[in-house]
Assembly symmetry: C2
Homo-oligomer: 112 residues x 2
Amino acid sequence: MLNPDPALPDPAPIFAALGDRTRLALLSKLGDGQARSIAALSTDTALTRQAITKHLHVLQDAGLVASLRVGRESRFAARREALNEARAYLDGVSRQWDDTLGRLKAFVEDAD
Amino acid sequence: MLNPDPALPDPAPIFAALGDRTRLALLSKLGDGQARSIAALSTDTALTRQAITKHLHVLQDAGLVASLRVGRESRFAARREALNEARAYLDGVSRQWDDTLGRLKAFVEDAD
DNA sequence: CATGACGGCAACCTCCTGGTTGCCTATTGA
DNA sequence: TCAATAGGCAACCAGGAGGTTGCCGTCATG
């Protein structure tokens, strides 16, 4: 059972998108619900605008952000769905581990 | 605020480790609390033993599994701590987003 | 004690990732 | 209308990730 709930899509791409400090920082900036332009998201970072753009597209492909063209700006905002999907997956795994926690002690005991 | 709780270590490496289907499958196999040898974890997969070994080391570096040498075997078992760390981070982000959900709706309604 | 199972190590390959630079288009607004 | 701002596109690069093969050491046991 790779996925606790087969109805949900593969969570690996979401985790992969979350597995980068720069992208976590971007998500954090967007955490206040405001949609921001690429230029706005590129300030306060040592990276170039293009690097930020690439990261935003990774987040978008994973469903973690959505983009909207407004005039000459591309505004990005956080999406809850993908985050909830990741949370649901981890909760499912955690629950699975909880259910069999008793057997975990066998790990140490099986050593001999 | 990149990390909701600065006392916690950087969650990015954990998410990066989770961002691969093969590794999620390995974690899932270990979800019953049983410690398994590399050979045991290498059955039922098209990959070679060495590929599985590499994935297990990635999981171990992220703290998601622990290894124990038993005779000629290396047994791996799931660790709860790193998983809880990832869950705590996502919960923190989710809570942050909840607090400002009202402002999000304008964007979402336009984008969807 | 010899043989097979377990697995570590290292080299190698390919493709992806994170980042850069350069350039071009489109929108804005004085 | 024209300069400045926002950003898309493409080439390029270095390094890392995922995977393989080959070989060698170690432990268990018939």
